[in-house]
């Protein structure tokens, strides 16, 4: 007969606080996009979040489970999808991405905590694959968006990632890149806000930098060795890192606790592999940006990487402890 131990004293955080931190950064990004584009991105974000919650509710009702809104992961998924959409993405495309994320990538695997693929990455990959013109068409940030629903009058602009993909030279200044003054997704262009969010999340220990730093370094090294644009090499590296969803994916989807390794050394390996996959997708892929596809590609490997990294580090630790 073994004693049953009941822990009654909690020192840690709750699941909700993790979701709350991410939602806070999403809210900041939405406010910033309101300043640049007007009301449309805000409404798009709210509709996408609403769709994600509705889909989760329907999935819970169909499978006769208790509603699982409480942990806030559906809100995070909806918010992340909206941030990766273009400001002029049709509402139905964003809703389809959210529905795919919840109904295909999340709930069939058992809901939050059990999904293999990152739902937000899966949703955006689905939308990119099915409606590339809706998702990858961006408005000019200088003009602003006065139109709410009818976006046919908007003159589409090429994003930096698209310019790099076609082998052309981008003339965006670093300042424009940092302040989000370039065509791109709602939440992924404002590099300064993203970096501030990263610092906040890292200080709150919501994300760890074990995967992010190797990921960014790997991308930078590959961009340095195999540049896609002529001219200044360092400027090319800067454009690679700040264009597309590279940083956004590195901050939010590479640190999703469920679909990435948990062990520190496993996270480092995961970050490096994802960085390689992202750059391969950018060089040889069909779309201008392959961050979501690269993360989806790596997600199933995370558990294998995690176990292997733990085995090695546990073995080393035991040997080291024995020696001491």
């Amino acid at each position: 007969m073994e004693p049953i131990i009941t822990p009654s004293l909690r020192v840690g955080r709750s699941v909700i606080s993790y979701s709350f931190d991410v939602l806070l950064i999403i809210a900041c990004l939405t406010v910033y996009s309101y300043v640049i584009y007007g009301l449309r991105p805000v409404l798009l974000t709210l509709i996408t979040i609403g769709t994600a919650m509705l889909c989760e509710a329907i999935a819970c009702l169909l499978s006769r489970r208790r509603l699982t809104f409480g942990d806030g992961t559906a809100l995070v998924t909806g918010g992340l999808i909206a941030m990766m959409m273009s400001p002029i993405t049709p509402v139905w495309a964003a809703m389809a991405a959210a529905a795919f994320a919840i109904w295909v990538a999340k709930m069939p695997f058992g809901g939050s905590g059990r999904n293999i693929f990152n739902p937000a990455a899966a949703g955006v990959a689905f939308a990119t694959f099915c409606f590339p013109r809706s998702v990858l068409t961006y408005p000019n940030p200088d003009q602003g968006l006065r139109l709410l629903w009818d976006t046919t009058a908007v003159i589409p602009q090429e994003s930096v990632a698209s310019v790099l993909k076609s082998g052309g030279a981008s003339f965006e200044t670093p300042m424009n890149m940092l302040f989000g003054n370039t065509p791109g997704a709602i939440g992924a262009t404002t590099i300064l806000v993203l970096l501030a969010g990263l610092i906040y999340l890292a200080c709150r220990r919501t994300v760890s930098l074990h995967a992010f730093i190797p990921y960014v370094l790997t991308c930078a090294v590959i961009a340095l060795v195999f540049p896609r644009t002529g001219g200044n090499l360092l400027n090319g590296v800067f454009l690679e890192l700040t264009s597309g969803l590279l940083l956004f994916g590195g901050i939010f989807m590479l640190n999703d606790p469920t679909t990435t390794p948990h062990h520190a050394s496993g996270r480092v390996i995961f970050g490096i592999l994802t960085g390689i996959a992202v750059m391969l997708m950018r060089h040889f892929g069909r779309f201008e940006d392959g961050v979501c596809f690269a993360i989806l590609l790596m997600n199933p490997l995370s558990s294998v990487i995690d176990r292997a990294a733990w085995q090695v580090s546990h073995f080393v630790e035991k040997r080291w402890l024995h020696r001491v």
């Binding site: 699941v15 993790y18 469920t258 948990h262 062990h263 733990w310």
Partner: protein, 420 residues
Amino acid sequence: MNSAKRGIPMLLDKGVAAAKPIVVLGDVKRVYLPLSYGDQRRCRPVVKDFDTVMAGSVLAEPIDLDDVPLISSVTGVVAGMSEMFHPLYGQLTCSAIDAMLFESPTDPVTPTMPEDVDADTIMKCCKQAGIVDELDGVQLHLKLADWAATGTTPCLIADATEPEPFQSSAYAVLRAHSKPVQFGLRLAALAAGIPATRIALQTSYSRGRKLAERFDPNDIHSIRRRRYPLFDKEPAEYRGQCGFIGVQACLALYRAVTDGTPQTSTVITVTGDAIDEPRNLLVPFGTPIEAALQACGVDKTVGLLLLGDALSGVEITDRSLPILPGMTCLLAFSDPIKKRMRSCIGCGQCAAVCHKGLLPYEIARRYENLQYERLSALEPQECDACAACSAVCPAHRPLVQTVQQAAHSMGTIFVDWGDE
């Protein structure tokens, strides 16, 4: 990996109970003394119903000659037998005694180290006095004999660290009986043939530092770490080789050797927000938990009653259970502090705090998926149930419980039905 950073911040809340002196629970009505502890120890009664027994007299002889006899903790009348289920010890067959008198053991005004005692005498006294070590609930003479047989233990440590939040009984005993505990520790070391002794004490808080000043610095192993669990309880020069003994067992051994007093009582910390007067209570063995709670002024609405401290304690509902050797803390909270359990989000906090470097989330996943044959690769048997993983889990999962169960079901493909 730097294991010193592992664990969780220590949440010490010893407060009122530790500040007050030990109080004797004098007016206990009835005590329940177990003839058998699960399958650990069995005794044959030598008294009949309605016999009058004196405190310290033998109630039952052990069936196995290596075991200690069952000794009456009070003077009173034998009132029959009763069966009860104890969450720590399993099924108990108890002898009920209607108590008439309980006298707390006393020490001489100026305690001295007994002269002219040899190891055999100490072992004999220890066995006759029925001393059980409160650290692990093992009979002290067995532990001493074990150390004496192996002969490789370089240092014996009286463990007064109490890293968990509320318990302060070892501290209280050490403060009230500094010299007897120290002499008892030396006697135990003498019996086990161990050359060095230390008293391990937390000096990260002022009360511990003041207590440490009473002793010679060479007799104290002071621990300043402020994270739970403590795993530097051993001095650096003897790491991984020391033997541990409880403070109350040291005191009982000293009394047994000096005047042959058997161990009949224990000091238990009774605290929690449902208790009006938290204190360290000296109770005779077999006192029902209800009596200890009443003596400290329990609130009517106790939402959660824990036997043991907040992190490693066991929830109990039956207040008639007796207080037995090995119990040193009783917590009563008005709020059940139970939160809804969610599924694992894979944050990895449990692995980050585990001082053994295990992966509790993965062990729990494999255990819950009935992948018993894949458990051994994760080494769940290394878990020492410190419960740090459960305390940090944001999804409020009972991880330590699952890991402990996993450690026992390793290598089998059969479902653990939990009947034996």
